[in-house]
């Protein structure tokens, strides 16, 4: 039997401190926490920056780190720094070292780097070991070389490897969420169906409990016959409906979940409420081995973006929006070569029409004449931030009064939302690598480093470069 704490779905989002301390009293074997996601777009991998701020990340990490050292149990963090890139891992490492120094903690820290270089991927492509996921076309050498960063999503084996090498705290780059929690149960011989099912069910922490807003930490227990999940906080409960529903969350299928070593199959899983009314018992999932394969996630930089938000409230402008934005585009495209030495093909000008069709685009079915106010975002993506900024700035006179709209009697067509009116959004990326690569060894592309952190504040480094 293995007992784990899942404090929260994403490191930095916060959780109940009281609940965490209650969970720790359960004789727990390991604490795990996922820190990342791809759901908020390619920017975070592109820049190696986290969604969550340093202070909120440190707050969560400090509670977990102090608790883990107090009980002398491993702390496993997956997808460190949100994207799991090397920079994001280093950012998280520095926070951990800062906490250790200030709190006088000693432990062996393992870092697992999951960024992969173009040479390794091109060899994989040449060997026919890479396939597109979710409809992606075959990976080309060009798209690999153009990519800003590529990470490989590791399975449980690198966590197990680090723990076998004496790590107390493991910071992993990009990692399967479920693998964080499945790793220790698997290495202790728990049947893979139960270990992976537990991992998937608790990877979002309190999402399987109600009320969610209580921020309860989840205690998961897994054994040969099944698993149980329960929130560690009075007044909060897990229900079979909520737990079963979590298999839907951000998955293409609630029954089949591809993980690096194979497929979790929950078709025959049974979810039952125990007599305490807060614990759910789950059994019946199976795990089918497949050729070992990791997802490659990569992004390519397209340029830099700036934007201006303006409110349109004059019924004449709202009613003539296509003409109005069409004229802004025509005037900017006409003046850009002369003023900035660029042609319209060198930048992308887009309008988002909040209140009309910005969210659903071509799928919007609401009658257009229902709109009385439009939040108009004018945005430009160009090769440099300065150029993007100036192109948006250059559109502003057209936006304000350079376009005549029939029926207007005023000098300005738009209400600028902010001063400054033009905001720089930084670099823009798109997902360019979303492929599966077969591995010969689950540790193959991953690099391990170990730091012996002492209470005195020094960290002795030992590096185990490439595994092979």
């Amino acid at each position: 039997m293995v007992k784990l704490i899942a404090p929260t779905g994403v490191l930095g989002v916060g959780f109940s401190y009281r609940s965490f301390r209650q969970a720790l009293a359960h004789d727990v074997d390991v604490i795990g926490c996922d820190a990342g996601s791809t759901d908020w777009g390619p920017y975070h991998l592109g820049t190696g920056t986290s969604w969550s701020g340093r202070d909120q990340t440190r707050r969560d990490l400090e509670i977990l780190l102090v608790g883990a050292r107090e009980k002398n149990i491993p702390l496993l963090i997956g997808s460190a720094g949100f994207s799991g890139s090397d920079d994001a891992l280093d950012w998280t490492r520095d926070i951990v070292l800062e906490i250790a120094r200030e709190r006088g903690l000693s432990f062996r820290l393992a870092l697992i780097r999951t960024e992969v270089g173009p040479g390794w991927i091109e060899d994989k492509v040449a060997g026919g070991r890479v396939a597109g996921l979710d409809g992606r076309p075959p990976l080309t050498a060009d798209s690999v070389r153009e990519a800003t960063r590529i990470v490989a999503m590791m399975g449980p084996e690198p966590f197990q490897h680090a723990l076998a090498h004496g790590a107390d705290v493991v910071l992993a780059g990009r990692s399967s969420d479920a693998a964080i929690y499945a790793s220790v149960p698997l290495s202790r011989g728990v049947p893979p169906g139960n270990a992976w099912h537990l991992g998937k069910l608790i990877e979002c922490g309190n999402a399987i409990s109600e009320p969610v807003a209580a921020g309860a930490c989840i205690v998961g227990t897994v054994d040969d016959d099944g698993l149980t999940v329960a929130p560690a906080l009075d007044g909060v409960r897990c229900t079979p409906q909520r737990v079963a529903a979590h298999m839907l969350y951000e998955n293409a299928s609630p029954y089949l979940l591809r993980e690096p070593p194979g497929i979790l199959d929950t078709t025959n899983a049974v979810y039952q409420q125990l007599d305490d009314d807060v614990t759910v018992r789950v059994s019946g999932a199976t795990f089918r081995p497949e050729p070992y394969s990791v997802r490659l996630e990569g992004v390519t930089k397209l340029g830099y973006r700036s934007m201006c938000l303006a409110g349109l409230r004059d019924p004449a402008v709202v009613g003539d929006i296509d003409h109005y934005t069409g004229e802004i585009r025509r005037l900017l495209d006409r003046s850009a070569p002369r003023r900035f030495g660029v042609s319209p093909g060198d930048y992308t000008l887009e309008f988002r029409r909040y209140g009309l069709d910005a969210v659903l685009g071509p799928l919007e079915t609401a009658p257009r004449d229902h709109a009385y106010e439009i939040g108009l975002v004018t945005e430009v993506t160009a090769s440099t931030q300065a150029l993007a900024h100036q192109l948006v700035a250059a559109s502003m006179p057209y936006l304000m009064h350079g376009v005549h709209v029939d029926g207007t009697r005023h000098s300005a067509n738009a209400a600028l939302a902010y001063s400054p009116a033009v905001a720089d959004l930084g670099p823009v990326f798109r997902w360019s690598v979303w492929h599966a690569a077969e591995l010969d060894d689950p540790l193959e592309p991953f690099r391990f480093e170990y730091l012996d952190v002492t209470a005195a504040g020094d960290a002795g480094a030992r590096r185990e470069a490439a595994h092979r």
Binding site: T38, D134, R136, A245, L248, A252, F429
Partner: protein
């Protein structure tokens, strides 16, 4: 008897399933309604595909009895968070089906 889908769901959400897929989870208010949706296959119709802007063959519909839920997974129009994507984690893309008659 017919109703709008929005009026007969305990949960109706959409999210990314990775950067290139969008997934809609529909939990009807009762097991009976779940059975009806599965029996009459309303959520696999050409109309649903059209409302979601995909072809019928791109609709992947799964009936999830343990969760009393119907899941619809479709390809995204553009990858999540691309420059021309306006719903980075796909959170509002259930809206075209709100008024579907079931």
């Amino acid at each position: 008897m017919t109703a709008r889908l929005r009026d007969v769901c305990d949960l109706f959400r959409s999210r990314n399933a990775g950067a290139f897929l969008l997934t809609l989870d529909i939990v009807p208010v009762s097991a009976e309604l779940f059975d009806r949706l599965q029996a009459d296959r309303t959520l696999e119709s050409d109309q649903v595909a059209q409302l979601l802007g995909v072809s019928r063959s791109d609709l992947r519909v799964t009936y999830y009895r343990q969760g009393n839920a119907v899941k619809i997974t479709i390809p995204r129009r553009v990858a999540g968070g691309s420059p021309d994507d306006h719903d980075v984690d796909g959170a509002q893309q259930f809206v075209p089906l709100l008024n579907l008659t079931v």
